[in-house]
Amino acid sequence: MTYPALATIILMPPVVLGLATVLTWVERRLLGLWQDRYGPNRVGPGGMFQAVADGTKILFKQDWIPPFADRAVFVLAPVIGMMTVLLSFAVIPVTMGVGIAGDMNVGLLFILGMMGLGVYAVVLAGWASNSKYALLGGMRAAAQMVSYEAFMGLSLLGVVMMAGSFNLHDIVAAQAGLWFIIPQCLGFGVFMLAGIAQTHRLPFDLPEGENELGAGFHTEYSGMKFGMFFIAEYAGIVLVSSLVTTLYLGGWRGPFLPPAVWFALKTGGMVVFFILLRAALPRPRYDRLMALGWKVLLPLSLFNVMATGTILMLRASL
């Protein structure tokens, strides 16, 4: 193993976790900005150390496991949530050189698999909590994520067909001329929606649904176990944003600036867009979410696969 690869392996998890932690503050400041207020601005310059203060607080909170919960699964669920997100980052190519396994030949499938496993975190958390709101949240999570996962994969097929590879390096390389967001705009839209649903972010945060379910699947969680769900959610935002960057926005490609900066800029822009979605849109009703998924987005992604395939075959035959 080469020395830089080892360094990336050691550095990646803390960097991702740090980013996710800082993101909690960024999100609150941005929400404040769009809601004509300030958000946390007292701890450190601009409130920058608010995340540290929150983390310290949550570390000292009592870590309580309800007596009626299924203990082993209850403890396991946040670990799964955290682990799958962190593992997914292994195949994200930040630049040509930076990234643990960016050259993995089934990188995209690996990420889809990890996202599929991530569902277990939410479902098991809801189930093991053994309380009605948590169960309802877990049930919603299962239905929502399983159905959105179906066409998340399908929407990515267009990209895979155009690049001719599951390797994320190759996919970025294939976007040398034109970013995939233009030929694959349909797939991009579907993947965005599926990505929001997958990270259960607003407006698709029905598993959490704090208005009607308390806090949904993590109602019974406290202390650092809740913190792990929280951080995993923000790491998930970074993950989906960097995935969108890699698959549709040309990855690290861009003029003048160094590649890593381009990657960070694009990913940051996507993260800000995610937060804007939260600031702007209300949560849809549960049945409408499912109806949108199965009746609109699934046919759209199938059509996208068909159209992309047809055009590619016509082009090849010419």
Binding site: W34, D36, L276, A280
Partner: protein, 170 residues
């Protein structure tokens, strides 16, 4: 679809709006003169206490946070002690409405936080101010028809001398 994008755009535009927050400890909010904050006891224009210890404020108080004891001196009533427990007070202003002499008044001040609960019990010397508060120039004994030392019956403002019932003259 389009209205969703419009919503996103309009929300993003809010980045350029003025923020509604008042950064409190540095920036003070405007409090109107009738704001119901810290309770005070005011004085007459001539410097005497307005409170006549009638107990109406204590009766009106829904949380029973006012406690006082009547005493007499110089032919009029005074509170011997006057105590408001601000850890109970809900700042409803009923005491101010009940007061017949404008003695008890609520002021636009709410910065009375304490670390120890007993410090929130204000005694009469904490409550009394030197001025006449919201009603300058008002003096209960100059208006009321009660005789006090130095003011005979029928000599108050806007008061006619008492009618002599035994006289037939108009």
């Amino acid at each position: 679809m389009l209205d969703t994008l419009r919503t996103l755009f309009l929300t993003a535009l809010h980045a350029f709006h003025r923020r509604a927050t008042v950064q409190y400890p540095e920036q003070k909010p405007y409090l109107p003169p009738r704001y119901r904050g810290r309770i005070i006891l005011s004085r007459d224009p001539d410097g005497a206490e307005r409170c006549v210890a009638c107990n109406l404020c204590a009766v009106a108080c829904p949380v029973d946070c006012i406690s006082l004891q009547k005493t007499e001196a110089d032919g009029r009533w005074y509170p011997e002690y006057f105590r408001i427990n601000f850890s109970r007070c809900i700042f409803c202003g009923f005491c101010e409405e009940a007061c017949p002499t404008y003695a008890i008044q609520l002021t636009p001040d709410f910065e009375m936080g304490e670390y120890a609960r007993p410090n929130l019990v204000y005694e009469k010397e904490d409550l009394l101010i030197s001025g006449s508060g919201k009603y300058p120039g008002y003096s209960f004994y100059h208006v009321a028809g009660i005789p006090v030392p130095g003011k005979a019956r029928g000599t108050s403002e806007r008061e006619r001398p008492p009618v002599d019932l035994h006289s037939l003259l108009p």
